[in-house]
Amino acid sequence: MKRSLVFLSLVVILTLGLVGCSSEKKDEAPAKQDSAETTAPAADAGKVLKLAMDADPVSLDPQVQLSGGMMQYAHMVFDPLVRWAKDGSFEPRLAESWEQINDTTMRFHLRKGVTFHSGNPFTAEDVVWSINRLKVSPDFKGLFEPFTEAKVVDANTVDVITKEPYGLLLNMATYIFPMDSKFYTGKDESGKDKAAIVKTGPSFANTNESGTGKYLVAEREQGVRTVFKAYPKYWDKAGNVETIILTPIKNDATRVAALLSGDVDFIMPVPPQDLKRIESTEGLELVTMSGSRIITFQLNSERFEPFKNLKVRQAIIYATDNSGIVEKVMKGFATVAAQQGPKEFASYNPALTPRYDLAKAQQLMKEAGYADGFACTMIAPNNRYVNDEKIAEAFVSMLGKIGIKVSLKTMPKAQYWDQFDARVADIQMIGWHPDTEDSANYTEFLLMCPNSETGYGQYNSGQYCNPEVDAMTIQTQTETDTAKRSALLQKIEKTLYDDAAFVPLHWQNLSWASKNNMNTGEIVNVQNFPYFGNLVIK
């Protein structure tokens, strides 16, 4: 009978687990609640934000990986030259103002009196150094390919020069987070260059930071917690959060439970299945926005012979019930996609519609000579995109219906991107938000022929390569006539659609949830880079 007691306790433990398991931070909770009685000292002690995300930054080097998570980190610890405001305009940050000097040169006037976390002053040298480093970063060099160089004019002025007239220069300036050139120069203890960009493995920049941002990294235990402290000499006095404690909580239900129980103050993303619950809970605020992040599957035809066959690729797209996924897995919290850019984008081609048709898919498989199907492998992350794992599982059973047996492995994003870059599976999942807020960016990274020199096709794990698409995409970079450019972009989408270059799923919506005593709605944006520096907790 003793063992039945063991069961009772097991049940109790399970129940506790459901309610949420982080008890460590209870001691900090009072700091916020009793602010009424200790108004004056509270300002000194500062506000603490307990933030739970699905994952924490993979590195402290803002130029090592081009991903949403790393950009969110960069906006906390570094500062860009300019950043997006909510209305789509540019907000001056480290660049106070800018002027076009000639067709290919933009002059930035930098903010004076800014210092890095290391104490070094911020100068034009740092901007030039950072842009040069971006141009050699495997992930960023594609974005900065149109750039020739940056030149120091004086300590607070810098010229950025492009190869040809480039309309998206300011969009790109939102990606220039100046790094402390003095801090990152020299050799570390093991004799390696401090500026080295190392994607996997240890490096100085991966574990040390010196930015100009509002927060410095006070403590970091990767995958467990990261503590950000406000940098006392930060120039922008907006926002009153002194300490941010970032805890990665991969499991959706646990992350929601942590917010509901008050263990954390802010969660992102919010799983679609829990939106209603959070909205109806008193004391919580839910902010949602329709997004432009496309979720796709890439079919690797270099790795897997049958994907070379157009009919097989088409069959897979015809077998994918993406509106079913949007309705059931995403709970309507996404928009069904048949192309890369959503409606507001110049590339949107209304003629391209979702293609789900199971009978047609089976027919195509037969015509392709694979009536009995085949087996292939697939990988997907499980904490990168909203419901990524469930989407991948649903996709696997959809392909099962046309006889394709897919072996799926899902993994946390910290492991996923290494595997993705190594192209270990025949089908790989990727979501993309255009860094430039411009539609050509999707193709440049996801579908242009992979080229390690220029960085184009850096995330093209399907290794789709169509010289025609490449030529058209390059042409859009310098095409200044918007109508012509739009027509060109739409033609690219049409070519990709007909070529079944990738499997489009949907554009995922964005969501954030927090306690309702802060201005969450004002700091979040469609880029999904919350400006925590501007967060005000009442």
């Binding site: 009978m1 039945s4 697939m378 599976a425």
Partner: protein, 308 residues
């Protein structure tokens, strides 16, 4: 009328008498039999085959159990987040859990009895070496062994192969992780038995060591083995559920009870409680009845608790 048949002897045995008079044991046994039948006849009983993608439609996802509003009579216990019929998936999952549970225990028992018997019978340095190996093995947790082995196998065989070998692999992992339990128990009984007169007698007759070991000592050490076997089956099923819950066990395409509970866990706040609750109840009841049977068996085999 000279000798009674085995069946007759069994019918008149105290074992059956005690069993029939113990309502807890009897009920537990009946429930276990029902589970075994349901699990192993899943292919005939289940209305759908959850391994066949043709039966899965994403539009059927998260349908509540048939008796609730919005329920569909086709799906008695509702459907999971992928649109699989929960009742069918549970039956198949039960089968996977039972196969892994019994398979792992068979492996544990084989290894453990072998090692324990040799260690107890040989004594001296053989005993110390084997028992130290068992200590080392015990100091690794099942999860550590599982993470280690599954990582190696996934790297060695690739993804596609891993799905095929998941069941034998889990049997291997859980079997290897827990064999010292058997080895310890058997060794202790062997030490007690080998001093007894019948062993001396066998030696005097001139029987070989191996024969004495296997034919004389072993049968007398088996009663504690039966008792721990019941507990170990329950433990193995729980270990598998725990491993699947953290994502190291069965792949989602062939869910066990543990992976079903894991899948459903994410939906618990959104109100789709049935995805995690029904497999959870089945798992708890299954382990409970096995444990209760084990308790009864222990009481029955323990002469000190013999109530006459």
């Amino acid at each position: 009328m000279k000798t009674r048949s085995r069946l007759q002897r069994f019918k008149e045995s105290y074992f059956l008498h005690d069993f029939l008079r113990d309502p807890v044991a009897l009920t537990s046994f009946c429930i276990l039999v029902v589970f075994l039948v349901l699990g192993f006849a899943a292919a005939f009983i289940a209305p759908f085959n959850p391994y066949d993608a043709m039966n899965i439609n994403i539009m059927d996802a998260e349908i509540p159990p048939a008796w609730l509003p919005g329920g569909n009579p086709d799906f008695l216990f509702g459907t999971d987040g992928q649109g699989r019929d929960l009742f069918s998936t549970m039956l198949y999952g039960l089968r996977v859990s039972l196969i892994i549970g019994f398979g792992a225990v068979a492996l544990q028992a084989f290894l453990g009895i072998f090692v324990g018997l040799i260690a107890g019978f040989m004594g001296k340095s053989v005993e110390s070496i084997l028992m130290r190996i068992a200590d080392v093995q015990l100091s690794f947790s099942t999860y550590m062994v599982a993470i280690f082995i599954s990582a190696i196998f996934q790297a060695a065989f690739g993804l596609a192969k891993y799905e095929e070998i998941a069941v034998p692999l889990l049997i291997l992992i859980i079997g290897f992780a827990e064999w010292p339990q058997y080895a310890r128990t058997v060794r202790a009984s062997v030490l007690a038995e080998k001093k007894k007169e019948y062993v001396e007698a066998a030696k005097v007759i001139g029987l070989s060591k191996t024969r004495i070991m296997w034919r004389h000592v072993l049968p007398n050490t088996l009663s504690p083995v039966f008792v721990i076997s019941t507990i170990q089956v329950a433990n193995a099923i729980m270990s598998e559920a725990a491993l699947s819950f953290v994502g190291l066990g069965m792949p989602v395409t062939q869910p066990s009870l543990g992976s079903l509970i894991n899948v459903g866990f994410e939906y618990i706040f959104s109100g789709s409680w049935w995805i995690t609750m029904f497999p959870g109840i089945v798992l708890v009841v299954l382990i409970l009845v096995i444990n209760l049977l084990g308790d009864w068996l222990r009481d029955f085999l323990n002469p000190k608790l013999y109530k006459g």
